[in-house]
């Protein structure tokens, strides 16, 4: 709303600056004021029409009251001085443009070189004559007058009425009207292109409908981007008889379209509803304006409501392109609701939005169309006629035009789905509806679970042939994209019924073009994108069960699925037609829709697989495990959990323990399905180890490659409380150690499990996994907190040790079980989490942000998906994760993750957060069990790391979306998993043989080493394998211990080959000598003063010394600093 007046004054300035081009810059107000003078010819007299030379001082003086009142007059009478431009320049009054002599339509030699006809003239030959006669009328129509324009595009629609003289009989036939219209616009364009008035003169297709070119005029100067005048040519009123354009009438002859000399005998001509509709649209421009303005009078809420609706549509990418739900359509819908008294003029903008969404959510216009006709005329076509001809029906007040003619049923269903979802959000008190509905963009990539591109739309020509769509092609003027699209989409919708909630397509869009260029072809819409939104339960089902073999529908099923359909016997004894898709792993099952799409398009539309670029699981390659390429580790995770369940049962039933086990809780990420690379059952090969038979264990050998990393799976084992427990922290530790010893012994005796006890845990080798049991006593945290004051009072205080223990034995098990539950509800939660963590780690930041924090961030996406639906594919989940990181306002908002729906008082958290902001961690995540402390982000990430993370996230998101949107180039989505290294000061290159997780790296290494293990889950009697031994982590630990105040160390723990070092700039400032800060520094004289500086050369050598055998080379990038 607010931008319209600016556009107005701006454009009027442009009018003037061109008339008196010598004047240079003029203030907008003055320009408008003088526009006003011109606008009121009676009052201002002829003198005002000629711009006088003004001195600079005069030019910038404030407007007088007289000028101001004229300005007002201009606004009231003419709505804008822009209108004046039209009237004075090309209007009937001036008659500057000469009439041209009548010529044949095909004879276009009169057009100068700089202008091309904005119409695809196929077939070229057509009867009829054209001459140019200046327009009879120019009128501003559309949203500009209604005041419902919204940014970023301010369009002023002007209807140019072509005089009756240029038309002949039968111009309704065979695109004759359309071609005259195009030639007429070309003629006008030719005149305007000579004017210096306009910054640009271009053609465009109205709503990308290539039958309807329009002329775009933009003022010169910096307003060029702001406002666009769109010229629509329309016929003189009463030129055509409406009855000729009823939906069932034919106006394109097959013989002409097929370029046959004589029409076939006896063949009936098919109806051409879209063609008819395109002509009718032009005849009702003015009456629509009147209709809408009568609806808008005394209805201030309509303007606001429409602005909101338009923003809503824009954010969902619904309002542009062929068959869009345009802003104009939204206005008509509001007017309809007003007519039906579902909206009253008292309503506010918000209420208008709400009522409209409510209506959209509950009404399916593809089944029950609506009409704006007030008094039904018996001669007019009825709704059923429209339904026969169009997929979506919304008839205008004249009863002739279908406003939704180009919209596919699928697009309307998408609108409907969005409206439903939005109503849910508006009714949800927990969500900030405004932010979510109107401020959040929903690009297709982030809104749909899978997307795929049709790389070459020209393949749709073949599809039209295969599906025999000649009539539709004729109707659409040869536009094979528009003709085939509804059929393709409904084909897919049928094939994916049950699996997909929504099958949507992007709207074909053709950009504007300069007037001296040939008009864009149909194939210039670029790749078409399709989006699938899944029903999580059924999306991955292997079976497509059809009707029983002897039923008549069986044939239909067989023809639909082709040779994939086969007869199968089912458990209930029935024999049915069925399609079974091949997929072994969860990863492959997720891609069954891809198989379906490719199969159906090949079978029914002749579109080869190579033309389809399916973006379902491109990113998942980075979490693939092991050497095989078929799976992404979900199966491995399940088998870990099974083994864990078995172990916990065994622990429960262990005989001979002095105290019973009260609870067994897993805390390892694999037990909540979020471990990036789940453990694989392993059995050691003895020859690669140093065997210590006396202790029944293996040790790594220095000369062999480092053994494969075996992660211990941490399990907390709570023991019952009893008076037997000592009440002293030292003694509790000893008792726990005794328990570890005893557990090991009993498990070995009763279940033949190989165990290795230690002071703080017992490692158990079971089914090829190593579990790390930790005994916990619930009072221990309390005892650790005890402090006796000097007065002898017992106080409880959090200590570092107690906090750590509480985190490990209380909060982490709870989080693990909550997230385990979330995984049961949303099967792709785990994989999304793993992708997210893989990305964090690949960006070398895994040590700077806790794993649990990333888990919670991803959980947020599933628990609070608005305005989206919960992700059903890891890829879309990952994109939203990046978006969340990049766009969430961490400074001013807490991220509230309502795990298990256990939170009610969200506002209380927000209030407390605001009150205590400065003392809280930079990244604040609240959960039901942790509302005030944000325990998983307490220490990490720091503000700088968070800043970097956000920057990396937004860059990665941009890069990956760019790749996913561009099907024509090869996708290298791994790009965002390769960290930028130029930013670091020192790179420590590691020796791959000593990196135990080398195989997990983003780009799978060409050369792999024997790491002394084989996949095996059955062995029982073995020497205990090497567990939790990762030289790189040992090295990093030593580096951080020694140099943490001089540098930061970054590493990708999943097989990174390089450790990146960043000097801390502050510690490189020379400092005065201090005993406590001499670590790694040396004393030197600077300007005859003794100062301490880091001994960089020695430190660089220390890097090599400490990592003897692991470090390949240390690369100091001294271009950033000097030694």
């Amino acid at each position: 709303g607010g931008s319209a007046p600016r556009g107005r004054s701006g454009s009027s300035r442009a009018v003037f600056s061109s008339q008196g081009s010598a004047q240079g810059r003029e203030s907008p107000a003055r320009g408008a004021a003088r526009g006003g003078k011109r606008a009121a010819p009676a009052g201002a007299g002829a003198g005002a029409l000629q711009p006088a030379k003004l001195s600079r001082a005069e030019l910038y003086k404030p407007p007088t009251s007289e000028e101001l009142s004229q300005l007002k007059e201009t606004e009231d009478l003419f709505h804008s001085s822009l209108l004046r431009l039209q009237v004075s320049r090309g209007g009937p009054g001036s008659r500057r443009w000469p009439r041209s002599a009548p010529l044949r339509l095909t004879d276009q030699a009169w057009l100068p070189k700089g202008v091309k006809v904005p119409f695809l003239q196929v077939p070229f030959s057509v009867k009829g004559r054209f001459r140019f006669v200046p327009p009879t009328e120019l009128k501003v129509v559309g949203s500009y007058l209604l005041g419902t324009c919204i940014k970023p595009e301010i369009n002023v629609d002007v209807a140019v009425t072509m005089p009756r003289e240029i038309f002949q009989d039968k111009d309704n036939l065979n695109q004759r009207y359309h071609r005259k219209r195009a030639l007429y616009l070309a003629h006008i364009a030719q005149h305007f292109s000579k004017e210096k008035l306009f910054g640009s003169v271009k053609f465009a297709y109205m709503n990308s409908n290539h039958l309807k070119p329009i002329l775009l005029l933009r003022p010169q100067g910096k307003d060029e981007k702001m406002v666009t005048v769109r010229l629509h040519a329309c016929p003189a009123p009463g030129l055509f008889k409406p009855i000729r354009f009823y939906p069932s009438k034919n106006n394109v002859r097959t013989a002409w379209f097929m370029e046959q000399s004589t029409p076939k005998e006896g063949a009936t001509e098919p109806p051409t509803p879209h063609y008819n509709n395109s002509i009718l649209c032009d005849t009702v421009l003015l009456s629509h304006l009147q209709f809408l303005s009568s609806a808008a009078t005394d209805f201030p809420g309509m303007k606001d409501g429409l602005a909101l609706l338009k923003v809503w549509l824009n954010q969902r990418q619904l309002s542009k392109g062929l068959g869009s739900f345009s802003g104009f359509l939204a206005s008509m819908l509001v007017a309809y609701l007003l007519m039906k008294r579902k909206i009253v003029k008292m309503m506010s903008g918000y209420q208008v939005l709400r009522s409209t969404l409510q209506f959209l959510a509950t009404t399916d216009l593809s089944v029950t169309g609506i009409s704006l006709v007030k008094d039904a005329d018996a001669s007019l076509p009825v709704l059923d006629d429209f339904h026969q001809a169009f997929e979506v029906v919304f008839v205008d007040p004249s009863g002739l035009v279908n406003l939704c003619a180009d919209m596919t049923a699928s697009k309307y269903h998408q609108v409907q789905f969005e409206a439903k979802r939005s109503m849910e959000i508006l009714d949800d008190r927990m969500v900030d509806g405004f932010q979510v509905l109107l401020m959040t963009a929903k690009p297709m990539l982030r809104a749909f679970d899978h997307v795929f591109h049709l790389k070459h739309v020209s393949k749709l020509q073949g599809a039209c042939k295969k599906m025999q769509l000649l009539n539709e092609l004729m109707d659409r003027g040869g536009n094979y994209v528009a003709a085939a699209l509804p059929f393709i989409v409904s084909l897919l919708a049928r094939g994916l019924a049950g699996r997909a909630l929504l099958v949507a397509h992007s709207l074909p869009e053709i950009p504007e073009w300069p007037i001296d260029a040939e008009p864009p072809k149909h194939k210039d819409v670029g790749p078409l994108m399709f989006g699938l939104l899944f029903v999580p339960e059924f999306a991955a089902s292997l079976l497509e069960k059809g009707p029983q073999a002897d039923h008549p529908e069986a044939l239909d099923f067989r023809t639909f699925w082709g040779e994939k359909s086969e007869l199968r016997r089912f458990q209930d004894g029935s024999i049915c037609e069925a399609v079974v898709w091949e997929a072994d792993t969860v990863y492959q099952k997720r891609l069954i829709p891809e198989q379906i799409v490719k199969h159906l398009l090949k079978l029914h539309a002749d579109i080869p697989e190579s033309s389809i670029c399916y973006m379902g699981a491109l990113l998942e390659s980075v979490i693939r495990t092991g050497q095989e390429v078929s799976g992404t580790g979900e199966e491995a995770m399940v088998s870990v959990v099974c083994s864990y369940d078995d172990l916990s049962r065994k622990l429960w039933n262990l005989k001979g323990l002095p105290l019973t086990v009260t609870a067994v809780q897993g805390v390892h990420p694999a037990l909540r399905y979020t471990d990036v690379f789940p453990p694989i059952p392993m059995k050691p090969i003895y020859s690669s180890y140093n065997r210590i038979r006396t202790k029944h264990l293996l040790l790594p050998l220095e000369e062999k490659p480092c053994p494969a990393y075996i992660a211990p799976l941490k399990i907390v084992c709570h023991m019952e409380g009893s008076g037997q427990w000592p009440q002293d922290k030292g003694a509790i530790k000893r008792i726990k150690a005794a328990f570890h010893l005893q557990l090991a012994e009993l498990l070995q005796q009763q279940h033949q499990l190989v165990c290795r006890p230690a002071v703080t845990h017992t490692d158990v080798y079971k089914d090829g996994y190593v579990f790390r049991l930790q005994v916990a006593y619930h009072r221990e945290t309390l005892i650790l907190k005890e402090v006796v004051t000097p007065e002898g009072m017992l106080k409880y205080q959090d200590t570092e040790e107690s906090r750590q223990l509480e985190l490990e034995t209380l909060h982490l098990p709870y989080l693990t079980s909550s997230l385990h539950g979330l995984q049961q509800q949303h099967p792709v939660f785990g994989s999304t989490c793993r992708l997210a963590k893989r990305w964090v780690s690949a960006q070398l930041l895994s040590n700077n942000i806790s794993e649990e924090c990333v888990d919670l961030l991803v959980a947020f996406l599933f628990l609070h998906p608005a305005p989206f639906t919960p992700p059903s594919s890891p890829q879309v989940g990952f994109l939203r994760f990046l978006d969340l990181l990049a766009t969430f306002d961490w400074k001013n908002n807490p991220l509230i993750v309502n795990l298990n729906a256990g939170l009610t008082g969200e506002q209380a958290i927000k209030n407390r957060f605001v009150a205590a902001r400065s003392r809280l961690p930079v990244m604040f995540i609240a959960t039901p069990k942790d509302q005030w402390s944000s325990m998983w982000t307490q220490e990490q990430p720091s503000a700088q790391i968070l800043q970097r993370l956000l920057m990396l996230a937004s860059e990665s998101l941009r890069a990956v979306e760019e790749q996913l949107m561009d099907p024509l180039n090869s996708q290298d989505v791994k790009m965002v998993f390769r960290p930028p290294l130029e930013f670091y000061d020192v790179l420590i290159h590691l020796n791959p043989t000593q990196i135990p997780r080398h195989l997990e790296s983003v780009d799978r290494p060409l050369k792999s080493f024997s790491r002394g293990v084989v996949k095996n889950s059955t062995s029982v009697k073995i020497l205990f394998p090497v567990v939790d031994y990762d030289p790189v982590q040992c090295y990093l630990q030593e580096l951080r211990d020694a140099f943490s105040d001089l540098a930061l160390f970054f590493y990708d723990k999943h097989g990174g080959e390089v450790i990146a070092v960043l000097w801390k700039p502050l510690s490189f400032q020379p400092q005065p000598f201090k005993v406590s800060s001499m670590k790694g520094r040396m004393v030197t004289t600077l300007n005859s003063e003794l100062v301490c500086v880091p001994n960089v050369e020695a430190i660089l050598e220390d890097f090599e010394v400490l990592g003897e055998g692991l470090v390949k080379s240390v690369e100091a990038r001294t271009e950033k600093w000097t030694i």
Binding site: P757, E1038, M1078, L1110
Partner: protein, 322 residues
């Protein structure tokens, strides 16, 4: 990043001597140890006797106590080497009693106290600055770093079950004995007054005492507060008495309100009160106790000025009359 333009290798602040030290012969750039004679004020530090002790700053992470004593062996026999995180903790250091528990390893750059048998050792060590860089890892005494060190420490992390069991058992026996002794002592003292006549009350006796915890203390304080509130005299002063009495006799106030106020919209807001003609009955104590502004809140919206003034008038009159 600062760069030292002209650098004097081995510069040292007052009192210190810089000793260049390298890991091995292969390395080119040395670290500089800063050494000086250890000084204590009152001779309290018995573990590090003055004059015989060398205080060493900036000991590199790979330099273990053994390596350090090897380094200074040429200056005289070394009695002991203490390595710690920061200076001054030497005295409080307890002896490590357990092989498995409370093990803390010092990492990174450290400080060290090298105690020589004789005083001459300290001086000899200071004189080392004239020689070339000292080597920490030599062929005769190699220092393990990197892979070999980590494998060794992995091997060391494996505990011997029997040994651990024995140690735990021994500790627990001691602990049980200690507890038993304490209990016996407490039982003996139970009810017996000490020299000054005080009797110690524990949780165990016939009359268990309160546990001395913060929570218990808070509970007691809270209870006291409540008790105090209960006991407080309410109508002690004459004016208090009078006011209570009046409140009892005249519980509500009739307040004239203009009919315009009781219009459609306001009526909704003041619904909790009953209407009688143009009068709104307000609960008297709700505003008499407070200021006139409290009327405001009970009505739910701002009052037009005349009503406010009138209400204030009544208030004044009543007060004057009494």
């Amino acid at each position: 990043m600062a760069a030292a333009g002209e650098r004097v290798a081995g510069a040292a602040p007052a009192g210190y001597t810089a000793l260049a030290v390298k890991f091995g012969a292969r390395q080119r750039s040395p670290h500089y140890l800063l050494v000086k004679e250890h000084q204590v004020r009152e001779g309290a530090d018995t573990a590090h006797p003055p004059r015989r002790t060398l205080f060493v700053l900036n000991v590199p992470p790979y330099c273990s106590p053994d390596a350090l004593s090897g380094l200074f062996a040429r200056c005289g026999r070394v009695q002991s080497v203490d390595i710690c995180d920061k200076p001054g903790t030497g005295e409080k250091k307890e002896k490590l009693t357990s092989k498995f528990f409370n093990r803390k390893t010092v990492t990174g750059f450290q400080v060290a106290y090298v105690v020589f048998r004789k005083r001459a050792g300290v001086q000899a060590a200071k004189a080392l600055s004239q020689e070339g860089p000292l080597l920490i890892s030599t062929e005769s005494h190699p220092v393990k770093t990197g892979i070999s060190k980590w494998i060794a420490s992995y091997a060391a992390s494996v505990v011997d079950r029997e040994e651990l069991k024995a140690e735990v058992d021994a500790y627990m026996q001691d602990y049980d004995k200690k507890i038993a002794e304490e209990e016996a002592k407490a039982a003996k003292e139970e009810g017996v007054p000490d020299e000054e006549g005080w009797v110690k009350v524990t949780r165990k006796g016939r009359k268990p005492g309160l546990p001395r915890t913060e929570a218990a203390n808070l509970r007691v304080l809270e209870r006291e507060k409540q008790k105090k509130a209960r006991k407080e005299l309410l109508n002690f002063y004459a004016w208090q008495h009078r006011e209570t009495k009046r409140e009892r006799e005249c519980p509500t106030l009739l307040l004239p309100l203009p009919l315009s106020l009781v219009s459609h919209t306001v009526a909704q807001r003041v619904r909790p009160f009953s209407f009688s003609g143009g009068y709104v009955q307000l609960p008297g104590n709700s505003w008499l106790g407070g200021s006139v502004n409290s009327l405001d809140s009970s009505l739910g919206g701002p009052l037009p000025p005349p009503v406010l003034a009138r209400a204030a008038g009544i208030f004044c009159r009543r007060v004057c009359k009494s």
